[in-house]
């Protein structure tokens, strides 16, 4: 399967890029993934899409001869834009569930107010005064899982800093699909 350029197991380099991306969220996530019965596959679209495929599905995947026809499989984990790994919402949820199982894994989280969560779900950036809980230090390009006041995960953001201005910029949120108009 790996000889086909359309869909294959992630290469060593690709795995390293994914690991580097996950380390920005928590250094322990990568090792957690190793404990799960999954393999990481890459499918080429506009970017290299990353999929987590349960091992029980792999045997059936081998029945597919024309790999071009595979549009999705397992769990869509995110994508590689060059060497930068960007986590998907589903990937984030998977990480949150995995971390829940292994309670000692710290995840960078920002909880925002009710109004702010609605604004975030429209794709907007948020100001620090809209946060209810956040870490003391917010460094440039730090990635955070964003929660609403009811402790529900609503998306992923990163810290943007310019002069005195600090913002939580929206990377992806659950309102995205509705905005896309499916």
């Amino acid at each position: 399967m790996s000889s086909n350029p359309e869909f294959h197991l992630a290469t060593k380099n690709q795995l390293q890029h994914i690991k580097d991306g996950l380390n920005k969220i928590s250094p322990q996530i990568w090792s957690c993934l190793g404990d799960e019965s999954i393999n990481i596959y890459v499918r080429y679209n506009k970017f290299a899409e990353i999929y987590l495929v349960p091992t029980q599905m792999e045997r059936k995947l081998r029945l597919i001869r024309d790999l071009k026809c595979i549009k999705h499989t397992g769990l869509y984990f995110g994508f590689l834009k060059g060497i930068e790994f960007l986590l998907s919402l589903e990937g984030a949820e998977f990480i949150l569930n995995t971390c829940k199982k292994k309670k000692n894994i710290p995840i960078a989280v920002i909880t925002v107010s009710e109004d702010a969560s609605k604004s975030f779900l429209y794709g907007n950036s948020l100001k620090p005064e809209q946060f209810i809980h956040s870490p003391n230090s917010l460094n440039r390009k730090d990635v955070f899982f964003v929660f609403n006041p009811h402790n529900r995960f609503i998306g992923i953001g990163y810290i943007y800093k310019r002069q005195d201005q600090t913002e939580l910029r929206n990377l992806v949120d659950y309102g995205y699909y509705i905005r896309r108009g499916f």
Binding site: P54, Q56, M57, K60, E93, R152
Partner: protein, 395 residues
């Protein structure tokens, strides 16, 4: 008369023509309904099609527990009744504001037609029409116009409600799927197991695929086939939203499934159809299809079923379903399959709710095996019009 795989194209009577004009149908459709149901039941059927089907959701147990979701939606002002056939299916209860927009005569009546499952429908509106009087349309035109306007408002409000339910946080998180009750039956009765390899042949937009994954607890394997590239996007979106992990989406024309050597344990074939059963929710279908469309569809449906039969492993089962009430798209397709593949049999469903499939319709005699197939009708079951039939390839 001996079975022939062709569409019943009747000559149009005056009665059918009048009724068709009144309800805005193509006359051939009404003539066919009269032939299927008789005139009294046709009246009930057409009137039921003027009412929207109950609004149902399926709780996605891959993401949440029914009790916590329903409690959460209740806090937002929604109330639901649990369905007692399909676990995790809930129908929305209309609130007072919505009820007040429905014409009084159809909701203050004490007369009700009891139907299975506890759904009730008033008979007063059913009795209002007398098709024997040519003057009827003129006499009641104003009243009908007003009723239509009020109904439009009601539909608009229902639409608003629906749209809101389609944008709650819980919906976006994939905790429930908005799905007609009838559409849940095929996956439910296919009864996929955790170790099964299942193919969903015409998968978009993903309601049945996500339900299969839910029934399989995200175990085993599902191949979701979809020919149309445009329909793949919403299919993938729903799969992702609902937290489905055991599914591979393939851009494949399902009529060529048998060429892929997949050999699945189970196949769900919710075949493309004329959608004649969807009229109550989409009235444009009263006129958007013609008799030629039925001819085209029944050929396509047989071609799909043929491919499913050739692909399925011996002992494997196929669920065939459509949201059409046309016998040509349902019993005729199954009959042709039984005639062409002697190793196929119809399995009985543990379903006392639906009505048996037709074994004599349009003056044609069909196999008595088709009594094991099931039909749902708007005027009897208060769902969309639906057909489902479980087939097995003998070992």
């Amino acid at each position: 008369m001996e079975f022939q795989f062709k569409v019943f194209d009747p000559s149009i009577s005056n009665t059918a023509d009048k009724i068709a004009t009144h309800f805005g149908y193509r006359p051939y459709m009404v003539e066919r309904y009269i032939s299927m149901f008789g005139i009294d039941e046709t009246r009930e059927y057409l009137l039921a099609n003027e009412e929207l089907s109950p609004f149902t959701i399926r709780v996605n147990t891959l993401k949440t527990e029914p009790n916590s979701l329903i409690a959460s939606l209740k806090s937002k002002g929604y109330t639901f009744s649990q369905n007692n056939i399909i676990p995790n299916a809930y129908s929305i209860d209309l609130n007072e504001e919505m009820m007040s927009l429905i014409p009084d005569e159809s909701h203050n009546s004490n007369e009700h037609v009891s139907s299975p499952q506890g759904y009730e429908r008033d008979t007063k509106t059913l009795k209002q029409l007398d098709w024997g009087r040519p003057s009827y349309l003129d006499d009641d035109y104003e009243g009908n116009l007003e009723k239509k306007q009020r109904k439009k408002s009601f539909n608009h409000l229902r639409g608003k409600h629906t749209a809101t339910l389609g944008s709650t946080h819980e919906y976006l998180m994939g905790e429930y799927y908005i799905q007609d009750l009838a559409s849940m039956f095929p996956a439910f009765y296919l009864n996929p197991q955790k170790t099964d390899f299942v193919i969903d042949m015409c998968a978009a937009p993903g309601g049945k695929t996500t339900y299969l994954a839910q029934l399989m607890s995200n175990q085993g394997n599902i191949f979701a086939l979809e020919k149309d590239k445009k329909r793949i996007k919403p299919l993938i979106y729903n799969i992702r939203r609902c937290g489905v992990l055991n599914t591979t989406v393939l851009n494949i024309d399902a009529t060529s499934t048998h060429k892929k050597s997949f050999s699945p344990d189970k196949i769900l074939l919710d075949a493309p159809c004329t959608g004649e059963g969807l009229i109550r929710d989409d009235p444009t279908r009263k006129t958007s299809k013609s008799i030629t469309d039925i001819t085209g569809m029944m050929r396509k449906q047989f071609s799909l079923l043929q491919s499913a039969i050739k692909s399925i492993k011996p002992g494997g089962v196929i669920m065939y379903s459509t949201c059409s009430i046309a016998p040509e798209e349902n019993e005729f397709v199954i009959q042709k399959a039984l005639n062409s593949f002697t190793d196929m049999e119809i399995l009985s469903l543990n379903d006392e709710w639906g009505l048996p499939g037709y074994i004599n319709v349009f003056n044609l005699d069909l196999s008595e095996e088709l009594l094991k197939a099931r039909r749902l009708f708007p005027h009897i079951h208060n769902t969309i019009g639906f057909f489902y039939c479980l087939l097995r390839k003998r070992k």
